[in-house]
């Protein structure tokens, strides 16, 4: 338990270290989510258009 507290405390620099890692995590995750969402939206849009064209 002490080891975890020390790990989070980072010798007094906890705020700086974990803010830095936190921002990095957010940015890296966001950059994955954006293309995943776009791909999903694109796939449904293309599928819908393909279905509509088949009817014409």
């Amino acid at each position: 338990m002490d080891a975890v507290r020390e790990f989070l405390h980072m010798g007094g620099y906890g705020f700086y270290v974990w803010s830095a890692y936190g921002v990095t995590f957010v940015v890296l995750v966001a950059n994955v989510i954006v293309p995943v969402l776009r791909a999903r939206e694109l796939r449904t849009r293309l599928a819908r258009q393909a279905r509509m064209e088949r009817r014409t």
Binding site: M10, G12, Y16, V17, Y21, V23, N31, L42, R54
Partner: protein, 245 residues
């Protein structure tokens, strides 16, 4: 070899090959990130001067290296698109810009958070920090051109010219700590001598650098595939894919 490269320029083949590579790339990236984070946050000892705050290095330096690497890829892809009119090159350049901007932003922010406890300031207008900030503006410029110009080919052409002109900033950033008197420290790894950093810190650093590089390739392929699908939506192979879904 030329046939392979020529085939790779075909959007359809690119889509297929990148689809096969992606799961591998994703897993290797995740593993390397985990290994690098463990090595940096747990494995490496504290610094005798900076204590635990130096651990920001394991995300700051890889981000900074990537900010430069991605710019060079973006400029090179732009040049290929400009000279040989290969659409896929334009796609790669456009998809790289927000990623490069992200890495530049991270380099600046993590550096700032490291600077406050160590230098006593979040920011200083020294050559390294200022030139890296200029890099961020260059990325924004490229992204802005793509957003503002409707015709994709014209946008790519303009963005490529900006990227190529701005490429002079890359050696400026790299050598800034040698050419000018800067608060930012000099090179410890990317120099002709042996690296002046202990192995227990160097190994996680290089692991994270590789992880960041593979992360970039993975996300770039994801973005490029969507862009390719959108651009080629009228073609037969995309129609077939769409009907299959």
């Amino acid at each position: 070899m030329w046939t392979f490269l020529h085939k790779l320029g075909s959007p359809r083949h690119f889509y297929r090959i990148s689809g096969r590579l992606l799961p591998w790339l994703t897993w290797i990236t995740v593993l390397l990130m985990a290994a690098g984070l463990y090595g940096g946050l747990v494995g490496a000892p504290p610094d005798y001067q900076q204590g635990e705050s130096y651990r920001i290095i394991f995300i700051h330096v890889p981000s900074a290296w990537m900010s430069l690497f991605v710019y060079m890829v973006m400029a090179a892809a732009g040049a290929v698109g400009l000279i040989w009119h290969i659409k896929l090159a334009d796609v790669m350049a456009a998809a790289s810009a927000p990623l490069g901007a992200s890495f530049t932003f991270l380099a600046l922010v993590t550096g700032s958070l490291w600077g406050k406890p160590m230098w006593g300031t979040y920011w200083v207008w020294d050559a390294r920090l200022t030139s890296e900030l200029v890099l961020l503006f260059l990325y924004f410029g490229v992204m802005g051109l793509h957003a503002a110009i409707d015709d994709k080919r014209t946008a790519s052409r303009a963005a490529a010219v900006l990227a190529l002109v701005g490429a002079v900033n890359i050696p400026i950033i790299h050598y800034s700590v040698e050419w000018w008197s800067t608060l930012h420290q000099g090179p410890t790894v990317t120099k002709i001598d042996a690296p002046s950093i202990h192995l227990s810190m160097l190994v996680p650093l290089l692991t994270m650098a590789l992880a960041f590089k593979l992360y970039y390739v993975t996300v770039l392929l994801m973005r490029a595939r969507s862009e390719v699908l959108e651009r080629e939506r009228a073609s037969a192979w995309v129609q077939e894919l769409a009907r299959g879904t």
